[in-house]
């Protein structure tokens, strides 16, 4: 049954994408539903199984590594697969309002959406370095395809730049993989971990793969492509790009440094990655502070929040791992909510220029409320998932006496407060100067409610962290607390 459930996570969306291309008219809705709805069921079952087993592995096609490809589901990948499924379903519900599957733009949108979620599941399951390359390419192409479905010139320019850099990143990653394979004779990450030596070649391979992935993850100073892409994509696409697509690349960097090279002891490298994260937090937040468009503010906020994920490296330890993973989860939910709410403002008021949105809370109270709620989690105020994550991060940093990291976390929080309150202050300002609202229909209510639901989920993550943290702890590779 395990293999069936894992196969469902990857192949069902892919088959559904094919069907959504060949079926006529309204039947395509059926394909979309059939591709997404079984995922939470399969994952729920797998999570129960994971709780009993602690780790699930399946040799695809029946060939164990090094010959074949192995799927491996542990606590960390399980949490990310859940996030992916939630995003694919809820953000998908939002997208359903704008991209009817029986119309032309939906005809392009949904197959890509399905391929993207299947590809991200495949990436999260795969333990094979080359298979990860293939899944990364699928994620990239599907994501950039989604970015241009509306054919906005800004989005297309951003897409070209994103594509060029993503392809370059893939090449660096693949060059590293080539070295690992040449040295170890295996592509399985966990087999190679036992064989790859921390010598010149091993280190070079690790650095090459890391650089390639950092480009795709848009970690400072390789973030240049992100704001334009995330800020100009269609709303639901911005949400999935920020919540998942960049995260899976960071997830792979974690896998490389903690699993592949977990016992190499390279403190300089870990500190370096942490410093990049710190710079990302400060630079991204400062940029968010001066942007004039709501979606660009949210996009630069992503640049900043991605930085926290890199703090795992200097803080290295079980609690830091739980904290950063939890940050990944709650930021994914909150950021998706923010992008959807911002997209609702943009779609219905025709602008997301901050200057034109004075008093938008009068026109669209629900979406402004959602922005505020999601902001609570981004800021790390209690009670929210973001609070749990940042509180745990602060605790470990304090316990280790890492004052630099303590400072960065606090400054990042203050700057986030500044850029979010700046937005809310304008949105709630008087006199009202924002355009009149056209009559809203049912679809508009649905899109607002979906955004609100995601923001509430980010808050709810603050109330029940224990099971998730426990699940994450089972995946930690490097032994007890520091």
């Amino acid at each position: 049954m395990v293999a069936e459930a894992l196969a469902c996570l990857v192949l069902v969306p892919v088959v559904a994408a094919c069907l959504a291309l060949v079926l006529p008219g309204r039947w395509r809705w059926l394909a979309v539903a059939a591709g997404l709805l079984p995922l939470p069921l399969a994952m729920a079952w797998l999570t129960g199984e994971l709780g009993r087993e602690g780790l699930i592995t399946v040799a695809v096609a029946g060939f164990e590594a090094p010959l074949g490809i192995v799927w491996r589901l542990d606590g960390l990948s399980a949490v990310l697969v859940w996030l992916n499924i939630i995003i694919a379903l809820l953000v998908g519900l939002h997208a359903a309002a704008h991209y009817p599957a029986d119309k032309l733009n939906g005809f392009r949108f949904w197959p890509l959406w399905l391929l993207l979620s299947g590809a991200m599941n495949a990436l999260l399951l795969s333990a094979d370095l080359f298979n990860l390359f293939v899944t990364l390419e699928l994620v990239t192409l599907a994501a950039i395809g989604l970015l241009v479905v509306d054919r906005k010139p800004q989005a297309m320019r951003a897409a070209v730049r994103y594509l060029l850099l993503a392809l370059l990143g893939s090449l660096f990653y693949l060059l590293g993989v080539a070295l690992v394979y040449g040295q170890t004779g295996t592509l399985d990450l966990y087999q190679a971990a036992g064989v790859l030596q921390p010598d010149l070649l091993g280190h070079t391979a690790l650095v090459l793969m890391t650089v390639g992935l950092l480009v795709k993850a848009a970690i400072f100073p390789l973030h240049g492509w992100l704001p334009a892409a995330h800020g100009n994509a269609p709303g639901p696409v911005s949400a999935v790009l920020s919540a998942m697509v960049v995260k899976v690349a960071v997830y792979l960097v974690w896998r490389l440094w903690l699993w592949l090279a977990g016992d190499w002891a390279i403190p300089a490298g870990l500190t370096m990655l942490g410093l990049l994260g710190a710079l990302a937090i400060v630079y991204g937040s400062l940029q968010a502070l001066v942007q004039q468009r709501v979606k660009m503010i949210v996009a630069y906020s992503t640049v900043a929040q991605l930085g926290y994920l890199m703090l795992l490296f200097p803080l290295l330890g079980l609690v830091a791992f739980q904290a950063t993973s939890y940050h990944l989860l709650s930021h994914g939910l909150a950021k998706a909510a923010m992008f959807l709410a911002a997209a609702n403002l943009l779609t219905r008021l025709g602008t997301d220029q901050l200057g034109d949105l004075r008093g938008a809370d009068r026109r669209m109270p629900l979406d402004v409320f959602t922005l505020a709620l999601a902001g609570v989690s981004i800021l790390g105020l209690p009670p929210s998932g973001g609070f749990i994550a940042k509180w745990l991060m602060l605790q470990t940093a304090l316990a280790q006496g890492g004052w630099l990291w303590v400072g960065v976390i606090l400054v990042g929080g203050l700057l986030a407060a500044a850029y979010l309150f700046r937005v809310l202050a304008v949105l709630c300002a008087r006199p009202v100067a924002c355009p009149e609202l056209p009559v809203s229909g049912k679809a508009d209510q649905l899109t607002s409610l979906v955004a609100l639901g995601l923001a509430l989920a980010a808050l709810a993550a603050g109330f029940v962290p224990a099971p998730v943290l426990k699940l994450l702890a089972t995946a930690w590779p490097l032994g007890g607390a520091p």
Partner: protein, 308 residues
Amino acid sequence: MVIDVFLALGLVVLAWQALIGGSLFRGIVMFIVFGMVLTLAWAWLGSPDLAMAEAAIGAGVTGALIMIAYWRLRRINAVEPRDPSPARSRLALVIAVLATGLVGAIGLAAVSALTGDATAARVMNETLPDTGLGNPITGVLIVFRNLDTLLEVAVVLAAYIAARAALGRESADLPLPPAPDTPLLTPLVVTLAPLTMVVAIYLLKAGSQYPGGAFQASALLAALGVLLVLTGRVGPAAAANWLTRAGLVIGTLVFCLVGLGMLVIGAPLLAIPGIWAVYLIEAAMMISIGLTLVLLFAGAPGLSGKRS
């Protein structure tokens, strides 16, 4: 040794010609020549499969795609015919020199550390006879690491949908060069078309034992398609009919369904039940990839009998 140096140097010189200086058009031509020399290099290194793939896909189809894009950009008049002069940058030079040094150093270190016992490949050579296949590459692609191949076919599908999304409309109005009108064309096409198909199917069939396989065959079909489009024997259609759509997805779909079907009968996911399944999957992939590449070249959602 002499041939190694000759081919390796040739590659670098051609890359130089393709990338630096000169007009863009000349660069594209040089890039295609580069692909041909790379084909020779693969053959010389001992990989006929890669040589065929490089010739058909790397140089052939990629070259055709870049050429038609260049022609369209010129026609749209979006681009001045001359390459905008490149930025002068010392930094770029430093980065490039560093990258060359790095790749050279680690490449030399890696080959000097070669032990000649690549574990995975050794296991593969031992396991291959059990599958009834003679070509190890087909074994890896369709049997041992077929998840890669499945996702790769999905990548081709995703690239196609993404390209359609970028181009936007349902109708086919990307320009194509006018079809040449000479009396020799018809006999040429009439001879080449069936011949190419026979060779493609032969490559597919031979691929189980000898060099060849679905990818090389699909690239041949794509090359034929490009020829037919360029000569006006096949034209872009305003919309995809159901046959075209089915052709686009059949590779991914058949692969997935065979893989899932194995689960139903209690075998591992994506296990390949026999040589017939290899042929089935390869034939489906050949159709999908070949068709996708032709449609991407034509810049149209579908194909029709004759260009209007």
